[in-house]
Structure formats: C-alpha cells, structure tokens
C-alpha cells in the first residue's frame, strides 16, 4: 500500500533564497503526521507547494487516494489538487467572511457538484435535488464539527475558535482523503485546544481521513501525532515518533539555539 502523500526531494527557491531544500516526506493512510519547526522554517511554504499555490523548483509530489492510484500532482492548480482529495486550512484564517457559515461549508461541496449556468437558471429537477442534498450534507458536517448553532451566521461574526473549526468543516466538505491543517490550534485557549484534539482524532477515526498538520503547540503535537517531521531553515532535520523527536539533539538545537547542545 502506497503512502497517501509522498513527497520526494521537494525544493523551492524564491529568487536566491532556498525556502525548501530537498524535502522528503510521506503520510500513510490513517496516520496523523505533524510538521514542526521554528518560525520561518518553511512549513507553510511546504503546504503551499504541495497544494499548487506555489510552483516548486524541483522535486516530485504524489498522492494516492486510499493507498491506490498514485498520481503525480506537480503542476496541478490548487483547485485540481483539492478535487483529487487533498484539502487544507490556512494559518491566517481565510473564510468567506460575508457568507453564512452554511454557505462556507457548501463552497467546499462545490467541486462535488455538477449544476452549471443553465441548471441555475432553469432549476431543473437534478439541480433542485442537488441543492437540497448539499444543504443537508453541509448541515450534517456542521453538526459533526459542532457548529450547528451558527448555521446562518455570517462567518466574520463567529468567535475565533469557531472560525478555525469552520475552516476545517469547509475542508472536510470537499471529501478529502488527506487533510492539511496549518496551525489549527493557534490562538486557542486550553479548552478549545483540547476540543480540537478530540475533533482531529474523530476525523481520523470516523471519516478515515489522514492528517498532516503544522503546529507550534508541542503538547498538542506530541499527544496527537503518530509521526513528526522537523524542519529548520528549509531543510528536514529529523523525523520519527514523538518519543524519538523529543530526544533528538538536532531538534533541541534547532528549537533552543546552538549553545545548548552540550
């Protein structure tokens, strides 16, 4: 069985600056993997490359939905990547602020819908049924994520933690097999973080979605992840289980600075 996400030798240059330097990374089916590293290590750049927002300078990127049908995703547009089953959230929340919560989730269903302009105008039976189904499905996703009390609220009026969760809900709505979460716990208080913890586990268990997340909250990462990848200055410096990472000298050095390695 192939890893659901397989990245080989990914390199990204911005002008003269090498933001990613030959990164190898893979996520297995049903796994929760984490990508950590100090600020500016290139984690978000990594996400942007594999989701098609940036064009990497070199390297190969593969996805295998359900561990089969390996596809190379180099050169795909962001929406094509999403269509093929890899969804993501953003570090700085990017919701559709002036749309309702439900509509935000419905947007996620967009690529799984068919209706075109004629359908919209004539509202034939197929379109009506599709709409009805999507509304229902989106509502159910909101229930799962625990946002059902906000359905018709504008996204911008949601509390911060709820906004983060709404981003996850929207990503879930695209029916991904792998979900990329960019700092999902950033700015959350302890209670919200532990709720998020539960939610991520639930997504893996119930929806069978693999997860790759970027996070700074070490407690969160250590308790949740099966495997951890560590980056610093665009290079991968370590990978392994939480236990291995905790005791890895390179990681400690990266986080605490050169002079502490004794």
């Amino acid at each position: 069985m192939d890893p659901v996400l397989d990245i080989k030798q990914l390199t990204m240059d911005f002008g003269g600056l090498r933001a990613l330097d030959h990164i190898d990374l893979d996520v297995k089916a049903g796994e929760i993997a984490a990508l950590i590293g100090p600020n500016g290590a290139g984690k978000t750049t990594f996400f942007n490359c594999i989701t098609g927002i940036y064009k990497p300078t070199q390297g190969d990127m593969f996805i295998s939905p359900g561990g089969k049908n390996r596809i190379r995703i180099n050169g795909l547009k962001p929406n094509q990547v999403t269509e093929r089953g890899m969804a993501r959230t953003f570090q700085n929340i990017r919701l559709f602020q002036n749309m309702t919560v439900l509509e935000n989730v419905m947007m996620g269903r967009h690529c799984r819908m068919r209706a075109g302009i004629p359908g919209a105008v004539f509202r034939n039976k197929a379109t009506r049924e599709e709409e009805k189904r999507v509304v229902q499905e989106s509502y159910e996703i909101l229930e799962k994520i625990g946002l059902e009390q906000f359905v018709n609220e504008f996204a911008k009026n949601l509390p911060y933690g709820a906004q983060r969760r709404l981003e996850i809900a929207r990503a879930m709505a695209t029916e991904p097999f792998i979900l990329l979460l960019d700092e999902p716990a950033a700015g959350m208080n302890n209670q919200e973080t532990s709720e998020l913890d539960q939610l991520v586990l639930k997504i893996r268990e119930e929806e069978h979605i693999s997860i790759l997340l970027i996070e700074h909250d070490m407690k969160f990462v250590m308790s949740l992840s099966d495997r951890i990848f560590v980056m610093d200055y665009g290079k991968k410096i370590a990978q392994g289980t939480p236990q291995e990472i905790k005791s890895n000298p390179a990681v400690i050095r990266a986080y605490l600075g050169e002079d502490v390695d004794a």
């Binding site: 978000t44 942007n48 927002i53 940036y54 953003f90 570090q91 700085n92």
Partner: protein, 300 residues
C-alpha cells in the same frame, strides 16, 4: 535618425507631462489604495488658480519670472488645499467602507470640481501665457526642444528626487511607508495615520499643481475639462510603471509617451491610443504588477 530623435524628444515631453500628474496619483494610491479620480481635477484647479494669479499680477505689472514663481506658489497652495479638503470631506468618512465606495465618491468629487469651474469661470478655452523665458543656448539647436520642455524635464526629475528623498529619509516618509504597508499596525505603533494621509494628499496635490502650471504654460490653453483626460492618461502611466512606486510612475509615463510618439511617427496616429492600451495590456500580462511594481505573491 533626426526623425527618430525628434520623435524621441516628443515622447519625452509627453512622458514628462504624464509623469508630473502620475506622481501624485501613485502617491495617493500607495497610501490608501484609492484610484483618485479627482486627481486630474486638482491639476486643473492648479492651472486655473495660476492663470487667475498671473492675470491679476500682470495687470499690476510685475516682472515675468516673479509672476511665474508667485503663480506657481499660489497654485500649489490652492491645489493642496483642494486636495486636503476633498480628502476630509469625501474620502475620510469612508475609511472603513467597502473598497469601491471611496472610488465612487472620488468620481463625484471629480465631476463636482469640473462643473464648479465651468460655472464659476467659463466653459471656453482660456489662453495661458507662456511665462517660461526662452533660453538663449537653445537657439543653436534650431528649435528641436523648447525651453518650456526643458523646464518640464528638469522639474519632473527634481520632483522625483525630492519625493523619493522625502519618502526614503524623512520621519514623515517612514510614517507614510508604514501606513502604506499596514494601516492598523502603523496606528498601533503611534503613527498619526490621519495626518499622514492628509499630508500625502497635500504633497500629491502640490505636485499636480506644479504640473498644472508648467503644462498649461507649455500648451498655452486650459479649460475645465483638461484634468479628466490628463488624469486617465496619468493613471494608465502609473499602473504601467507599477502603481505605488515613484520611479515606476515616471518610467511608466515615459514609456507611455514614447509608445505614443513612435507609433504616431512610424505607423499612424489613428490608432495611437489603441496601441498604447494594447501595450499596457501586454505589459500587464507579462508583469502583472507593472514594470517596477512589487511582484510579491499573495501572502498565504
């Protein structure tokens, strides 16, 4: 080759004229991302104020250079005042409004100022005296360049240098850059954003006024509508160069001026503007942020 040279100089003149207006355009845009439709009208107001001052002073019998200087100062004061007032009345209350709302109110200001001058003064073209003295040394070159053109080139260059200096090295310039980058952040670190924006309008309007005086005395006539066409061209030039960038505005203006001049000279002036716009489209397709614009990718 002579023909080429003359077209080149013609383009340079056009370009410098666009640049004098485009500089203010791009400055205001850089700070509040507003396409200031009324900027051309500020230029027109400057020209009118100068004309009125000149006429009054001529009747008093002052010396030519003195008249020119006083008129330029009056134009700068009044244009700045109009720019300042327009900002206070029509744009400031719209700071937190949707992005397009200030654009519409700028259009309103533009239309208002046009009609205001039309009603208070006249709809006719008025002759504008040429107060720029003839430079003797130009005689030798047989009228390839006129002295007013030289003055325009030089002024454009000086204004560019002064503005660049102002923005790069003064405290106010730093505040302006900070405001342009992130208005909320600038406010947090203690920049008086309102004052910075007002100041930008004042400086932008002052350059427009200077342009108004020089261009009007080069062309020799003004009416209430000159601002609109000039404004559109300057806007195109500013975008071409990369809106928000000072050297970009000048470069864009020059490129636009030369494009028009050479196209007219070698092909046909029938499609002069068509070509200028096509050229703009082409440049923007290959450099979506203009020639000197920052090509930063969207922060994700």
């Amino acid at each position: 080759m002579d023909y080429f040279m003359e077209l080149f100089l013609g383009g340079l003149t056009r370009g410098s004229i666009y640049a004098l207006i485009a500089l203010g355009y791009t400055m205001v845009y850089g700070i509040i991302e507003l396409i200031n439709f009324a900027h051309g009208e500020i230029y027109m107001i400057g020209a009118f104020t100068a004309l009125i001052t000149i006429s009054v002073l001529t009747m008093l019998g002052l010396n030519k250079i003195a008249i020119l200087l006083i008129a330029a100062v009056a134009a700068i004061i009044y244009s700045s005042a109009y720019g300042y007032t327009a900002e206070k009345v029509a744009y400031k209350p719209l700071r937190s409004a949707p992005r397009l709302s200030p654009l519409i109110s700028a259009i309103g200001v533009s239309l208002f100022l046009q009609n205001y001058v039309l009603l208070a003064q006249t709809s006719d073209f008025l002759p504008f005296p040429n107060l720029i003295p003839q430079f003797k040394f130009l005689k030798a070159y047989g009228g390839i360049v006129q002295s007013s053109e030289i003055v325009i080139y030089v002024t454009t260059a000086i204004v560019l240098v002064i503005l660049t200096f102002l923005i790069k090295f003064t405290k106010l310039g730093k505040a302006m850059r900070a405001t342009a980058q992130d208005r909320d952040m600038a406010m947090l670190v203690g920049v008086n954003v309102d004052r910075v924006i007002s100041f930008t309008f004042v400086v932008g309007s002052a350059t427009a006024a200077l342009g108004g005086v020089l261009i009007a005395s080069h062309i020799g006539q003004i009416n209430f509508y000159i601002g609109f066409i000039a404004g559109i061209k300057a806007f195109v030039a500013a975008v071409l160069g990369g809106i928000g960038s000072m050297p970009g505005a000048v470069l864009g203006s020059l490129v636009l001026g030369w494009t028009e001049s050479f196209f007219t000279g070698y092909i046909s002036s029938d499609y002069e503007d068509v070509f200028a716009f096509l050229f703009l489209v082409l440049i923007l397709i290959f450099r979506p942020s203009g020639i000197l614009g920052r090509t930063d990718t969207d922060k994700v």
